[in-house]
Symmetry: C2
Subunit: 343 residues, 2 copies
DNA sequence: TTGTAGGCGTTATCAC
DNA sequence: GTGATAACGCCTACAA
């Protein structure tokens, strides 16, 4: 049933090498025979077998992207950016997540199949020993997203979390005139949360504001969880110069909603800042002051690095750092040029 | 550099067939030699070459998923469901979109590479002739999501849009007591929008409510567009018994926001209904009455069908229909047991 | 239980 | 310009 290169050869009355030539280096073959072969290909509906091809060429033109999860706007953007760029570069993208099912299994499965992949981009977000181990003696070209792994040198594309969080904090203590800032992070072990917390603490110190352990919460990046937390605390937070700094937009949205539900007005009675600048940020009332993280660009850059490395495995490791950008909207009263509640 | 099966064979002092046997049918080989081979494998870090393997076995254990876009909660859910199920079934998933770049190119690219894929699930959402053509004489096992293609019979998993939209309309004209319903759809050519509009019109007729062309709008499923539209019309809509039926949650959220911004109260001054039940639905104030579309289940079912067909290409085409479910929250005042504004 | 040999569909290296 | 032929790494009768 499957038509192979030799079927085409017979039909066109040439040898298989000639067929192979018109497929790959048509300039080496006579125009007439070329035409004959091409029509044979068309008539037979011949499609080169990718396995045999890969066996010879040792590449599949498929690269992988492994993310902590595929759910939500954030990852969605990365995938989109990566997919788009990968295709531009002539590659197809395989997406996997470490969350669906057992993470190690998931990852290892992808790796077991690795000979089919030309390379992999990995985002870990939390470092487990297993992943660490797997990655250190990884034979396949790979690039790491949003973090760096100890051990072997490798390509990586990073978000300068510190920079972004610091910009936000400066905005809050400066233009917004905040004197108390509540930090609502994701999981305590999450890389991004850690980096943002560091910036938070540092900025507090710089501004000579007191740091209080009890103003720090670790949640799970989800809207509902944040809503619930805020429902409990929002009346206590509501103070002339208090802001909540959430580690992503969804949680910030939950907090805004809880504040509204409690009859408080944002930003008059309480400032709320988000992170990521996903579409939710423009869907709350008021829209969120947040930090734009160039997610799809991160995906795209990852693919560039990866494909470059596939082409030249020897090149020195590259490290790309992407700078987030402060986006001032209304949820912190920034436009008011003073403490946000003095409206 | 790459270690092959014969390296292992040498190291273990056996023939390559023996190595192959411990890899695939370990029961056929003596325990002792088996152990010897296995340790050789481990010591050498041997990984079977997937190309050579595929060349013999004629399968890759990779299946594809082609979506109109990868952006947003909706597709995100489908991908997640599909990915999860695919892995459970022992397959890896390749994701592509027809939107990034030229759609036909994109799709055809995936198809050109198809010998690497064992099968593909496709969601088209709008039918272009090219896609139609490509699909009708598709050699590869495939299943269609959320629609059916004329021509060759095939597996498909459908959302009963009609059922969902009708349930919503019944809810609006019944419990909510709506007398005028504004329809805000996606693109006029979009399958889902078409189906929902049909249900809308039908339900209006059944309820003996007047249909007015000027109460029908076609947008693009985006929050902002809907917000802008609603900003213009919301004061005119605001009537004792008027509801807006948006074709997805994001647009509904935009409409709610516009209403709030205009000083109207939802649902007292205007009812707003969404569709899909994505996370946004719980992030508006008030939360949206909407229709839950089992997206991740659709992805999962698609993979089941696909993998089953890969295993048995001869089986008769199956057609799975998933029923959406009405979710009553507060944006239409349903809980009020009467016209929503009488609060 | 194990080894030998042939073939899967390509591409690459030679000759001609 | 074109055609044999040898890899590529693996699986699987068939033989021993």
């Amino acid at each position: 049933m499957p038509v192979s290169i030799s079927d085409v050869a017979k039909r066109a009355n040439v040898s298989i090498s000639t067929v192979s030539r018109v497929l790959n280096r048509r300039e080496l073959v006579n125009d007439q025979t070329c035409a004959r072969v091409e029509s044979a290909i068309r008539e037979l509906g011949y499609q080169p077998n990718a396995f045999a091809r890969g066996l010879m060429l040792r590449k599949s033109e498929i690269v992988g992207l492994v993310l902590p999860d595929l759910h939500g706007e954030f990852y969605s953007q990365i995938i989109r950016g990566a997919n788009q760029r990968a295709r531009q570069l002539g590659y197809n993208l395989v997406v996997s997540s470490t969350r669906d099912g057992d993470d190690s299994h998931s990852l290892l499965h992808a790796i077991r199949q690795r000979t089919l992949l030309d390379g992999v981009a990995v985002m870990v977000s939390e470092l487990t020993d297993r992943i660490q181990d797997v990655l250190t003696d990884f034979r396949l070209p790979f690039v790491v997203l949003d973090d760096e792994i100890g051990g072997a040198p490798h390509d990586s594309v990073l978000i300068d979390q510190r920079h972004g969080a610091t910009a936000m904090m400066r905005h809050l203590v400066g233009p917004c005139g905040a004197k108390r800032i509540v930090f609502v992070g994701g999981l305590e072990t999450n890389f991004d949360t850690i980096a943002r917390f560091e910036a938070y603490r540092q900025a507090l110190a710089n501004a000579k504001l007191p740091f209080s352990r009890s103003d720090v919460y670790y949640l799970d990046y989800e809207y509902e969880t944040a809503y619930n937390l805020a429902s409990k605390h929002v009346r206590e937070w509501a103070a002339p110069d208090c802001c909540v700094f959430a580690a992503n937009d969804e949680m910030a949205a939950g907090i805004v909603a809880a504040a509204n539900a409690a009859g408080l007005s944002v930003p008059r009675d309480l400032g709320v800042a988000g992170f990521d600048d996903t579409r939710v940020a423009r869907m709350t009332r008021p829209p969120l002051t947040t930090v734009r993280v160039p997610m799809s660009e991160m995906g795209a850059k990852a693919m560039e690095l990866l494909c470059r490395r596939v082409a030249d495995p020897q090149r020195p490791p590259t490290r790309i750092s992407l700078k987030p950008e402060l986006i001032v909207r209304e949820s912190c009263g920034a436009d008011l040029c003073g403490p946000h509640r003095n409206r």
